[in-house]
C-alpha cells in the first residue's frame, strides 16, 4: 500500500462553487492508503505546487492524487513538481473534477458525490502505480533518403543545409527521377531540365550529401535514431574514380539494341550507357544483361577505347553498412501497365502512346529530337486525341481507385504546347471531369481552351479503332450533346494512371512502415502528421505517399526534411515510459501481439526462462520501448494475458472500474 497524498484544487471558484472541496478532502482521508489530504485555491500555482512538494517530503508520500482540471492541462506541471520533491513523476494521478464534473453539473450535492468517486478512482489507480523511467536512446546524426528524384533531392538538400550528413540511395544509374524525363512543367511551362539540373548538381556538390546511384537498400534493422542499413552498390563495371565522362565508350559500343528506359523504350541505347546527357554522376554503367562481353565473352571494345582505363569487367557488387538516425522514403511512381486497357489499342498501334512517352517525344533529347511525329511512319500528325482517366478512378480490378491528380494539368500542358508549336494540329481532349485545384491551375486550363482552342469533350472513349490506312478512329461519348462520336486521329495520347514504384512494397516491409491497399505509404495521421510514417523515424516525401505534382512534392519534401532535422537535432530521445511489456513467464510466443502492433515494436527472442524451477528455452515477445507508442492494442489481443501496458495496466484500470462501481 502506497502512502498517498490527495490535493484538492478550488480553481478559484471554478471547482469550489459546485464541488464541496472540504467534503472531498474529508472523504479522501477515509480512503485506504491516504495519509494526507488538503485543499488549496490554486494547486497549479507556485504556492500550490510547494504544498505538494512539502507534503511529499514531510509525509514521505509514495503517490499523489491531484483533484483539479483535466490532465491534458496540468498533468505535466504536477509531475514535474513531484519529481523536484524526489517522487517519481509517474506516481502522480489527476482526478479531473473540473471539465468532467464542476463545469457540467449544477447541483452541488451531485457534483460533490461525483468528485469524491473520481478522487477514489484516482487513489485506487495510484495505489497500483509503479515508478516509471522515461528511457533514452541515442540519435545517429545522419539521414538516409531512399530515392533520388526531385522529392529525394529536395529532402536531402534541406537536411544537408541544416548541417547533417545525408545519403541518397537511387536504384537507377543517375539521380533525377521522373522529373528528368519531363519536357516542360506546368503551370509556368519552364523546361524541366533547366530547373532540375541545378538541383542535381547542387546535391552532387554538397559536402553533406553522399549519393549512391545504381544502388538499393537491402536490409534495415534498428529503430528511430539508430537504424542500421545495408546498401547494395551494384557493380557498375566502370570505376567512378577514373571515369571522365567523355562518352566514347557509349559511342563505340557495338550493341545498341537495348530498349532505352529513359525514353520509355521508344528507342534503343547502347549496353554501356548513361541514362541521359545531364546524368549525375556522369559515369556510365554496363548493363550486364545486354552486354556482349558479359553474354558471350567476346567484345571488350569499351575497355579498349577508354583512355582513362575506367572500364572494369571484374567489378563486384558491394555492400555498404551505415547507421542512420532518420530515414526518408522518396521512391516515387511509375505509370501503370496498360495491358488490360487494350480497348485503347495501346499494344496494337505505335501511335497510341502514354503521356510520359509524349513527354519524351516532345523533348529535344528524346527519340524524335523533339519533333512531334507518329512513331509508326514518322509523319506529322494533324489530329491528336487525348484520353483522360485511363486506369484512374476505376472501381474494377483493372485500374486504380484513386484520381492520379496530375493528368488534368499535364494534358492541358501538352495540348497547349502542341497548339503553340504546331498551330495546324487539332487537339481534342476527352475528359470525365477536369480537376485543377492549385495556384494558377484552373487559369492555365482555361487558357488551353480559350486561347489555344483545345477542344474539350466531356465523355470517355469506348474504343480506339486502328484503320488499315494507319489512322485511328476514336469512338467516344460527347455527353453534353448526347452523341456518340467517331473522331479520326493521327495520334492518341493516354493519361495512364500513376502507381507507386513497384519496389516500394519491399522497402516498406524492411522499414515496417505501413502501406495502403494501393501500395502508397501510410501517414501517421492523415491531417496532422502527413509526412511521417506511423513507424517512428521514417518520413515520407513525394508520390510514395500519394499522387502529387511537382510543387506539392517539393513542399512535402521540405516538410519531411524538417521532421528529420527535428529528430537529428536531438542528442538523445526520451521515450514514453508508458509502453507495453510482456511477462516472459506467461508469454507463449504466439505472435498475435506483433500482428496488431502498428509500429513493428514487438519482436521475438528465444530466451532461457526459469519457470518456477523449470529452466527452458522459450520464444517470447520483446517490446522495443523506443518504438512502442503505448496504444495498448497488443494487451487486449494477447490470449495469455502476458502483455500489459505500463501506466495503464490491467490492474490499474480494473481498480478504477471497481472504485467507480463501488
Amino acid at each position: 500500500m502506497q502512502r498517498i497524498g490527495v490535493f484538492v484544487c478550488h480553481c478559484g471558484s471554478n471547482i469550489a462553487a459546485t464541488v464541496d472541496v472540504k467534503k472531498v478532502v474529508e472523504m479522501a482521508m477515509c480512503e485506504p492508503g491516504v495519509v494526507h489530504a488538503e485543499d488549496y485555491p490554486y494547486m497549479c500555482s507556485e504556492a500550490g505546487q510547494a504544498k505538494i512538494q512539502a507534503a511529499i517530503k514531510e509525509k514521505n508520500l509514495g503517490g499523489v492524487v491531484v483533484c483539479s482540471c483535466s490532465p491534458r492541462m496540468h498533468e505535466n506541471t504536477f509531475r514535474k513538481a513531484a519529481e523536484k520533491a524526489g517522487l517519481n513523476p509517474y506516481m502522480v494521478e489527476i482526478a479531473n473534477i473540473r471539465e468532467h464534473c464542476s463545469w457540467i453539473h449544477k447541483n452541488m450535492e451531485e457534483a460533490t458525490e461525483k468528485a469524491v468517486i473520481l478522487m477514489k478512482a484516482a487513489v485506487a489507480k495510484v495505489n497500483l502505480n509503479t515508478p516509471l523511467q522515461a528511457g533514452e536512446s541515442r540519435v545517429t546524426k545522419r539521414a538516409l533518403v531512399i530515392g533520388g528524384g526531385i522529392a529525394g533531392i529536395q529532402t536531402a538538400l534541406d537536411i544537408a543545409e541544416a548541417g547533417y550528413p545525408v545519403d541518397i540511395v537511387e536504384k537507377t544509374p543517375s539521380i533525377g527521377g521522373r522529373m528528368s524525363q519531363l519536357d516542360k512543367t506546368f503551370p509556368t511551362l519552364d523546361c524541366s531540365a533547366c530547373i532540375l539540373t541545378p538541383k542535381m548538381v547542387e546535391a552532387n556538390a554538397h559536402p553533406n550529401i553522399n549519393i549512391y546511384t545504381y544502388s538499393e537498400v537491402e536490409k534495415v534493422s534498428g529503430f528511430v535514431g539508430d537504424f542500421t542499413v545495408d546498401i547494395r552498390k551494384k557493380a557498375r563495371s566502370v570505376d567512378m574514380s577514373k571515369c571522365t565522362g567523355c562518352g566514347v565508350c557509349q559511342e563505340k559500343c557495338p550493341n545498341k539494341k537495348t530498349p532505352n528506359e529513359f525514353n520509355r523504350g521508344l528507342n534503343n541505347r547502347s549496353a554501356i550507357y548513361t541514362p541521359f546527357a545531364q546524368a549525375i554522376p556522369n559515369v556510365p554503367v554496363i548493363d550486364r544483361e545486354h552486354c556482349t562481353k558479359f553474354l558471350t565473352g567476346k567484345c571488350g571494345i569499351c575497355a579498349k577505347v577508354c583512355q582513362a582505363g575506367a572500364v572494369d569487367y571484374e567489378q563486384q557488387d558491394e555492400i555498404i553498412t551505415e547507421k542512420y538516425g532518420a530515414i526518408v522514403v522518396a521512391t516515387g511512381f511509375n505509370m501503370i501497365n496498360l495491358d488490360k486497357y487494350d480497348e485503347y489499342a495501346y499494344s496494337q498501334s505505335k501511335d497510341v502512346i502514354t503521356s510520359l512517352e509524349l513527354e519524351r517525344i516532345m523533348n529535344a533529347a528524346g527519340p524524335t529530337k523533339g519533333h512531334l511525329e507518329r512513331l509508326s511512319d514518322g509523319k506529322a500528325p494533324k489530329e491528336m486525341v487525348f484520353i483522360q482517366c485511363v486506369g484512374s478512378r476505376c472501381a474494377d480490378k483493372r485500374g486504380k481507385s484513386y484520381c492520379s491528380k496530375i493528368c488534368c494539368m499535364y494534358t492541358a500542358k501538352h495540348a497547349m504546347l502542341i497548339r503553340d508549336k504546331y498551330p495546324d494540329v487539332n487537339v481534342t481532349v476527352f475528359y470525365i471531369d477536369v480537376r485543377t485545384p492549385g495556384k494558377n491551375f484552373d487559369e492555365f486550363y482555361r487558357r488551353a481552351v480559350e486561347e489555344y482552342g483545345v477542344n474539350y469533350i466531356k465523355g470517355q472513349v469506348g474504343k480506339v479503332i486502328p484503320q488499315p490506312d494507319g489512322k485511328l478512329l476514336v469512338q467516344g461519348s460527347d455527353l453534353l450533346s448526347n452523341k456518340q462520336i467517331l473522331k479520326e486521329a493521327d495520334m492518341v495520347v493516354l493519361a495512364a494512371a500513376i502507381e507507386p514504384e513497384p519496389g516500394v512494397r519491399n522497402i516498406a516491409t524492411m522499414l515496417t512502415a505501413s502501406i495502403d491497399t494501393n501500395d502508397f505509404l501510410t501517414e501517421a495521421h492523415a491531417k496532422l502528421r502527413p509526412v511521417e510514417s506511423p513507424t517512428a523515424g521514417i518520413f515520407l516525401s513525394g508520390v510514395c505517399q500519394g499522387p502529387k505534382d511537382i510543387p506539392e512534392t517539393v513542399s512535402q519534401a521540405g516538410a519531411a526534411a524538417v521532421k528529420a532535422i527535428g529528430l537529428l537535432a536531438k542528442d538523445k530521445l526520451t521515450t514514453n515510459p508508458c509502453t507495453a511489456k510482456a511477462d516472459e513467464l506467461m508469454c507463449n510466443g504466439c505472435s498475435q501481439c506483433a500482428n496488431v502492433c502498428p509500429y513493428g515494436a514487438i519482436s521475438y527472442e528465444t530466451k532461457l526462462i526459469n519457470d518456477h524451477g523449470v529452466r527452458e528455452d522459450r520464444r517470447v515477445a520483446v517490446v522495443n520501448s523506443a518504438l512502442c507508442q503505448g496504444c495498448g492494442a497488443c494487451t487486449v489481443t494477447c490470449p495469455s494475458g502476458a502483455m500489459d501496458l505500463q501506466g495503464f495496466s490491467n490492474r490499474q484500470i480494473l481498480a478504477e472500474v471497481d472504485a467507480i462501481c463501488r
Binding site: D339, K340, Y341, D342, S347, I465
Partner: protein
C-alpha cells in the same frame, strides 16, 4: 482423355460442320467427346435477371450429368459456352440461385458448380497445347491470312468467362499459327455481330457486320473464322461481303488432313 460434350441445338442442325469437324479432330488429337445424354437447349442467351431460375435449369442438368461422370464439360458453340459457363458460376457463387435451382431439381446430390466447363479452344490451348497441335498438322494452311472473329459471347464478361484478354485476345490467333496460317489482327474482332437482333432488325446487324468484314479485309485477311453459328449467319448476310467465313473446326480438320475435297 474423355470429356462430356454439349453440342447444343444448332450444331445438330444448321451448324453440323462445326460439330462434325470438331469430333473428327478430337479423335486425331487424342481426346474423346462423349455427348451428354438427353441434353436440352441452353436457351441461347444467359438470363441476366437475378430472379431468373427456371431458365437456367437446363444448363444445370447438363452440368450435373458431367459431374456424375466426373468429366469436364466441353462446348463448342459460343452461345452455349457463354450460357453454361455463367450458369456454372452462379451455381458456384450465388447462394440465392444455387439454393433455388437445387430445390427445383431435387438431384440426388446438390449441384454446386463442381464441373469444369471448357470451350473446345480452351481444350486445345490448355489441355492439348498449341505446340502439340502443330506437331499433328499434316496439311498446314501456309500462306493463308486469317482473321479471327471472336464476337462478344466468348470473351465477355471476362471476370466470369476467364477465356482470354477481352480487349486483346490471342487464343484464336495462336490457333491460326498452329495450323500453319498467318493471323490478321483487326480491331473489330471482339465487337458484336448483332446477335439475335438480326431476326427483327436486319439492317442493324448488317451494318455491324459490314464494319467487321471491311475492317478484316482492310487489314488483309483472306478469310474469317468463328466459333459461333449465329456470328457465321450474320457475317454471311452483309451485302458487300467478299470474304468467306469458316468455322475454326473446319480449318482444324483440314490442317489435320481429315477433310476430303
Amino acid at each position: 482423355m474423355k470429356y462430356s460434350y454439349y453440342p447444343g441445338c444448332t450444331l445438330k442442325n444448321k451448324a453440323q460442320a462445326l460439330d462434325m469437324y470438331a469430333r473428327a479432330s478430337a479423335s486425331v488429337l487424342g481426346f474423346e467427346l462423349e455427348e451428354v445424354s438427353e441434353w436440352q437447349c441452353c436457351g441461347g442467351v444467359y438470363p441476366l435477371g437475378s430472379d431468373e431460375i427456371a431458365t437456367k435449369l437446363s444448363s444445370v442438368r447438363v452440368l450435373n450429368e458431367a459431374k456424375k461422370k466426373d468429366q469436364a464439360l466441353v462446348t463448342l458453340c459460343s452461345a452455349c459456352h457463354h450460357v453454361i459457363k455463367r450458369v456454372n458460376d452462379d451455381m458456384k457463387n450465388v447462394p440465392d440461385i444455387y439454393q433455388k435451382a437445387n430445390r427445383y431439381l431435387q438431384l440426388e446430390e446438390d449441384y454446386r458448380g463442381e464441373t469444369n466447363v471448357y470451350h473446345f479452344l480452351e481444350v486445345l490451348r490448355d489441355q492439348i497445347g498449341f505446340d502439340k497441335l502443330k506437331e499433328k498438322v499434316v496439311k498446314p494452311l501456309t500462306g493463308k491470312k486469317i482473321g479471327a472473329y471472336y464476337g462478344c459471347l466468348l470473351l465477355r464478361p471476362s471476370s466470369i468467362l476467364a477465356f482470354d484478354n477481352p480487349e486483346n485476345p490471342k487464343i484464336l490467333e495462336d490457333f491460326i499459327r498452329a495450323i500453319g496460317a498467318e493471323p490478321v489482327i483487326y480491331p473489330y474482332r471482339n465487337e458484336c455481330c448483332g446477335g439475335y437482333i438480326s431476326l427483327k432488325e436486319k439492317d442493324m446487324s448488317k451494318n455491324m457486320c459490314e464494319k467487321i468484314t471491311q475492317s478484316a479485309e482492310g487489314f488483309g485477311a483472306d478469310m474469317l473464322i468463328t466459333a459461333c453459328p449465329l456470328c457465321m449467319y450474320n457475317l454471311n448476310k452483309t451485302e458487300s461481303k467478299k470474304i468467306p467465313v469458316y468455322y475454326f473446326t473446319e480449318l482444324l480438320a483440314e490442317a489435320l488432313g481429315l477433310k476430303e475435297d
